[in-house]
């Protein structure tokens, strides 16, 4: 399988070979092929409907003058939220010195990059005139939160790409040097992307320093990206959005769904590629504890967000809250709050709840709940405008997304999963060299001041 090169094999004991073999990206098996085929189908179907939307306008959706933002925007908020997992695992855990994060970093950065790409695409999907996208740059107005969003999303995407790529360089060199029997183009790609990495102390030092700087940089940008996203709502005068703690409310919810997303991905990689040795029960246990903490913070913000205005029951705000608590949106609202937040908190409090399988189920509940939570943040508010919705068709008063709209939304979710899948096909989902180094304490990473 592999040809050993003296200079690199000398660096690691033979154990490295086994780890390399375990973690190397593998061709898709049958289930992998079916998975890719299904995702591609969902993606292409949505893409087809998007072409229709380009031709016939947003009229193919159920959005109308009152519900002028719909599931596209809810989906956008979801993507931005889940992308915060990158900064959580790569930066916050790194800076807090949590060593156990190593096998999770790559997965979380892959999720972050793919979801932020689709967050940007979803915004374009929601535009009435995507052909005029350049106006956002040509006629940019700094007063508009959308301009801030464009700036912060591009910054976050750039830093996330670097945080995915830089730690990958030693792995790319490892694959370049150690792997044979892979297609020539793949080898060429690894060689090109490894940028001549030889693992020299000087190179190591530069890389570690760059990673450290990025880890610090990404934290304010991550807070920025989701705070600005919350301001798309909080800077308006609408009931339910006109709130001063929307920023932290959104950020806390984002870290929670991000943790849920990475737990779900961990479980799938672990079972599918038999990585039990690397993604151990300990990792699930720690992620479970982290998720409880993040969910409790989110619960706290939910209490503030709903209880305080509900105590006052002010005017139009009251109609909005009544629709959530007892009205049209009550079944969805209580399902999301209970199954997407309260049940996860309770289950994960118990050691047995933090075993991989229950964690996976809880993580799926958190992620699905988080998607519908964004629906509940965006849609009910717009169904309760200040002026009466007179003389408009029933469908204008109660927004129910069309099949095409759902399909386009599903396509973006499938697309994001497809990117993660394809990335793991080409690059190791768990950092190889870092794992090898950690397995051999004498080859500890060079400390930097």
């Amino acid at each position: 399988m592999k040809t050993k090169k003296s200079e690199s094999s000398g660096h690691f004991p033979d154990q490295s070979e086994a780890i390399g073999r375990d973690l190397m990206p593998k061709p898709f098996g049958l289930s992998g092929k079916i998975w890719v085929a299904v995702l591609s189908f969902v993606f292409l179907l949505g893409f087809f409907f998007y072409i229709q939307q380009l031709r016939f306008g947003l009229g193919i959706t159920a959005m109308r003058d009152y519900s002028t933002w719909g599931i596209y925007i809810a989906n956008f908020v979801f993507f931005v939220a889940i992308s915060l997992v990158g900064s959580l695992i790569s930066a916050i855990l790194k800076l807090s010195g949590a060593k156990w994060r190593t096998p999770l970093t790559r997965i979380s950065e892959m999720i972050a990059v793919s979801s932020i790409i689709f967050a940007a695409l979803v915004i374009i999907v929601d535009m009435g005139r995507p052909d005029r996208f350049m106006n956002v740059i040509l006629h940019a107005r700094i007063q508009s939160p959308i301009t801030w969003d464009v700036l912060v999303i591009t910054t976050y995407l750039t830093i996330s790409l670097l945080l995915l790529y830089l730690p990958l360089i030693p792995d790319l060199a490892f694959m370049r040097d150690r792997f044979s029997g892979i297609p020539a183009w793949q080898k060429k790609m690894y060689t090109f992307m490894a940028l001549g990495w030889k693992g020299l102390p000087g190179q190591e030092k530069i890389l570690r320093r760059a990673e450290q700087i990025l880890a610090v940089l990404i934290i304010p940008v991550a807070f920025g990206i989701h705070t600005v996203t919350s301001w798309l709502f909080a800077t308006t005068l609408r009931p339910g959005w006109d709130s001063s703690d929307f920023g932290p409310y959104f950020v806390s919810g984002a870290f929670m769904v991000g943790a849920g997303g990475v737990i779900a991905a961990m479980y799938i990689f672990r079972t599918h590629y038999s990585l039990e040795k690397y993604l151990t029960d300990k990792h699930f246990d720690y992620m479970g504890r982290l998720l409880v903490l993040l969910s409790l913070v989110y619960l706290y913000f939910n209490i503030n967000e709903y209880f305080v205005p509900a105590y006052k029951m002010k005017g139009q705000e009251a109609e909005h809250l009544n629709a959530l608590f007892y009205g049209r949106y009550a079944p969805l609202f209580w399902s999301v709050q209970i199954f997407g937040m309260v049940v996860p908190i309770i289950v994960l409090m118990f050691r047995r709840g933090r075993k991989p399988l229950p964690m996976f189920i809880i993580a799926i509940m958190v992620v699905v709940g988080a998607w519908f939570k964004r629906f509940l943040i965006v849609i009910p508010t717009l169904s309760h405008p200040y002026i009466p919705m007179d003389r408009v068709p029933e469908s204008w008063q109660h927004y129910l997304p069309t099949f095409k709209e759902w399909s386009i939304t599903a396509a973006t979710l499938a697309g994001a999963l497809l990117i993660v899948t394809l990335l793991t096909r080409l690059f190791p989902a768990i950092p190889m060299v870092e794992t090898i180094e950690e397995a051999n304490p004498e080859h500890k990473e060079t400390e930097i001041a």
Partner: protein
């Protein structure tokens, strides 16, 4: 400067005779230089720009060419003006002539209403009333604040307009407007070929374009021609007063009154003043009503919402 202000006030208030005559004579004077016109013998009296009455042959009159204000030019307000509207709720009996005229003149269908007449009721004991509602052309417009591309803007004459040649269709302005005054062309607008091929101007909001936002524009094209906005002229009950805050005068077509006196004497107010948007549209409360409130077919079926 002062004299032009006075001129414009006079011409505005005597809109029937004033501006039409001046504009007409301008075209007539230009026409004098062309010798090819065949005289009809029918003479008409006109007011020249110098203020003299002149008599010319009807053949020299040309229809006023349509004032086409380009999107760039429309960003400048009409100098020296501060347009304002006052809506007398005591006079409105839901005839909806304003709505129909607006819809007809802006070629917008029922799905894109610039003007709505809403049944309002402040509380259960109060009698309901009809409230014509449109863009309030706020002095602190939340819609303008959030636009990422400067497609919607506030002019020096107080009017808030939309350049649908620039609008990217993000609909942030619609979300930001607490009065739901804005409407979106979700599909290809249902307009005749003739309308579709008109020169677009933000001052007319015609033709509408798919994927962009539109709304009440206060009809600055009409004002430029010395006319009132369509809703004002269409209302037989004189509900709408339109005018210039700088001149302190508003007119509903039949009477011209001092804006400050009207608002003071009739307790004029602005809708949802606590939003801090400072609308340029005032309401006179529905007291001492000219008509008793009657539900129409729609509100009979749907009840009311305050």
């Amino acid at each position: 400067m002062k004299s032009t202000d006075q001129n414009s006030r006079r011409s505005f208030l005597r809109k029937g005779l004033g501006i039409a005559a001046v504009a007409g004579s301008v075209t007539a004077l230009q026409a004098f230089q062309q010798d090819s016109v065949e005289e009809t013998g029918e003479m008409v009296k006109l007011l020249s720009p110098e203020g003299e009455i002149v008599e010319i042959d009807k053949a020299y009159l040309k229809p006023i060419p349509e004032v086409h204000v380009t999107p760039d030019a429309a960003r400048e307000g009409i100098p020296g003006r501060r347009f304002v509207m006052v809506i007398d709720l005591a006079q409105c009996k839901n005839l909806r002539k304003c709505h129909d005229a607006c819809e007809k003149m802006h070629h917008c269908g029922p799905d894109n209403e610039f003007l709505k007449v809403l049944k309002m009721q402040d509380n259960k004991l109060a009698t309901p009333f009809w409230q014509p509602t449109m863009c309030f052309h706020c002095d602190e417009p939340p819609c303008v604040k959030v636009c990422p591309v400067d497609a919607t803007y506030k002019r020096t004459d107080g009017i808030v307009l939309i350049d649908t040649d620039r609008c990217i269709g993000c609909r942030f302005c619609m979300v930001a407007c607490p009065y739901s005054a804005r409407t979106f062309d979700w599909s290809e607008p249902d307009q005749t070929e003739e309308v579709k091929h008109q020169h677009y101007s933000p001052e007319t909001s015609v033709p509408a374009k798919m994927g962009t936002v539109s709304k009440c524009d206060f009809c600055p094209d009409m004002v430029r021609q010395g006319e009132m906005p369509h809703c004002v002229t269409a209302c037989p009950n004189g509900v709408f007063y339109f005018g210039d805050e700088n001149e302190d005068a508003v007119s509903n077509g039949s009477e011209t009154v001092r804006l400050s006196e009207l608002l003071r004497d009739r307790a004029g107010y602005r809708y949802m003043e606590d939003m801090g948007t400072r609308p340029r549209v005032y309401y006179l409360p529905p007291v001492n009503r000219a008509f008793p409130f009657e539900d129409d077919e729609f509100t009979k079926q749907n009840g009311s919402k305050s």
